[in-house]
Assembly symmetry: C2
Homo-oligomer: 364 residues x 2
């Protein structure tokens, strides 16, 4: 078992990483003085519930906790105000009060949704994260929680830090191959923005990671969470530094918007986006090396680096404008300058971005 | 013009009280460095819009601000997640971003709703309060914002402090008499929990207040806001002291729930509740004086002190149980012990409360 502290002053919390944590989760609830008098609500989705809900409920019950569960359909569509209202109905019917906790058992969608429920129920109650995807190593650190609005993703939300994150790597064994690669995409990003040694380790342990070797996974998740927590500790409310976590995300979000949210997985979209950022680095005068390394590592992990031809460049540019707004012809991008290093640049020209989108359609 | 600082560390903000502030509101926006580049959204209700929206929009436009407005139906029914979604639609269509502010122009409903929109839009943007009722002197201090759920009032919300409160007492001139008395009920409560001199002043200035004399109103609102801000400064997140603000509210909320939210105004319900609390004080051994004074002052302001016969005691008790839960036959109440003083007592017996509810039906 590994433990990592996310350092946020009085809102600091630990991430526990290990095998079999879910079936012993009550012990961690005890350790963090989660109230046994006030009922808990475990929020999860249908896919996760099938494999992992029972052991969690059994452990909580055996440990003397009163826990109910609420199961949402899987997928981004559950991140809505309508689903929030249903969770609050379940919370009221289960008798949750200010001393209660809401537990997110699942990936990013469940974490964001249940986290916003915890942030807003009775103006904020305790929150526990139990991620069950690789991708969620990213979303479970930093306290950003939200639901979507029909016009915009993650637009209604809060900053609400959990009491703890319980990351049971055995849950990852049931992930489909495509989700494994897509999840590792954020892990690679964490290396690329902050830690060249971690990038080297990722390349050397590629096969172990892709085959879900528990020890390698645990270490990779630990390092990924560590980079994110170091960044977030310095800029909890995203006033500056935290923006570097968006490497590949500006183009990535635009691709997701144009593709529809189910065609390209988030990790796949930011993989293409990171190659785009490396191409923008060249436009700004940096060497081709960073582009070569970025592309090589993403490809070796089975991630897409080429933008499918059918995505219309004009629509991508329009989605980019919507996301960030060009100011007088330039916009802000996170630019990789070397392996493990990025810069926040606000002088990226619109025409460069357009050229790069075209180039992305021709990546080999 | 009077100014009061609500002292909350880096979240401190001023309350400006005076005549004609709305038509010069842009000057206050300038003073607080509200961004002119990012659009503003003014949220108000149909009744308030009729009288006060145009001067606000005119001032903002003349001052170089880009402001849109969003008008909700008046009444508690607008405090819903559905209305929140509509406000977010309006905010997105108006192009609001992280530097934008949402402005609440209206009473408690508009303040709570627009405040929660500001708390959650893009995970929190700036918020400006412009109260237009006497009652809102209470809700505009302290940062509690929320919407209702079909099963419970104010159950989905946040703590989100405004940048400033602009309290234009001229807006109060259009209030109906019943709303005036009901609004003064919270002002009287602030005297009763904290400041005996203010209670004396209230009694001496009753006629001026009821006839909306601007100078008396301004002073009364100032003192009411001051009591609330002193309490909130010591306990922003309601861990202890802040509970004293609930004098009369436990019984009051139960009456509102049983009556339906439109039959009894909030200020009327807590007026009856405050008489009930004074009766509970006698059960706990305190002198009859506090009961006599409480009842006298509330009656003199035209507020109800007797519970209408038709309200079923069993239903009131059941609503009380739902609100707070009796623990082993006792529950927590705010008990007045002298004029300007209260205690938080958790040894109030269920049967006393039931007796008091019956007695309230026979108040002369």
């Amino acid at each position: 078992m590994m433990e990592l502290k996310v350092d946020l002053g009085e809102r600091s919390y630990p991430i526990y990483l290990g095998e079999g944590l879910l079936k012993d989760c009550a012990a961690y609830f005890d350790k963090h003085a989660i109230s046994k008098r006030a009922p808990l609500l475990v929020v999860t989705d249908e896919s996760v519930a099938r494999h992992h809900l029972q052991p969690v409920m059994d452990s909580l019950t055996a440990g003397g906790y009163k826990a109910s569960s609420f199961i949402v359909p899987p997928g981004e569509g559950s991140k809505s105000l309508q689903m929030l209202e249903k969770i609050v109905t379940a919370a009221l019917e289960a008798g949750l009060d200010r001393k209660s906790a809401i537990v997110a058992l699942g990936g990013g969608v469940v974490g964001d949704l249940a986290g916003f429920a915890a942030a807003s129920f009775m103006r904020g109650i305790a929150f526990v994260q139990m991620p069950t995807t690789i991708l969620a190593h990213d979303s479970s650190v930093g306290g950003k929680v939200a639901v979507n609005h029909p016009l915009a993703k993650n637009i209604i939300g809060a900053f609400h830090q959990p009491e703890m994150v319980l990351y049971d790597v055995t849950t990852l064994q049931t992930l489909p191959q495509r989700d494994i690669s897509a999840g590792l995409s954020e892990m690679i990003k964490h290396g690329l923005i902050w830690d060249a040694d971690f990038v080297t380790w990722l390349e050397n342990n590629r096969e172990k990671l892709l085959s879900l070797d528990p020890e390698a996974l645990q270490y990779g998740l630990y390092q990924g969470c560590k980079v994110k927590s170091l960044v977030v500790s310095q800029d909890e409310r995203e006033n500056g530094l935290r923006a570097i976590l968006n490497l590949g995300h500006t183009i990535g979000h635009a691709l997701e918007a144009v593709a529809g949210y189910n065609e390209l997985l988030h990790g796949e979209a930011i993989s293409i986006g990171m190659v785009g950022s490396a191409r923008l680095a060249m436009k700004l005068g940096y060497s081709e090396d960073i582009y070569t390394v970025t592309k090589r590592i993403l490809q070796s992990f089975g991630l897409p680096v080429r933008l499918p031809e059918q995505y219309d460049t004009a629509r991508i540019m329009s989605a980019l404008m919507h996301d960030k707004k060009f100011k007088e012809g330039t916009m802000t991008f996170i630019i990789p300058t070397a392996v493990g290093q990025v810069e926040i640049r606000n002088d990226v020209r619109r025409e460069w971005v357009e050229e790069v989108v075209e180039q992305l359609k021709r990546e080999a």
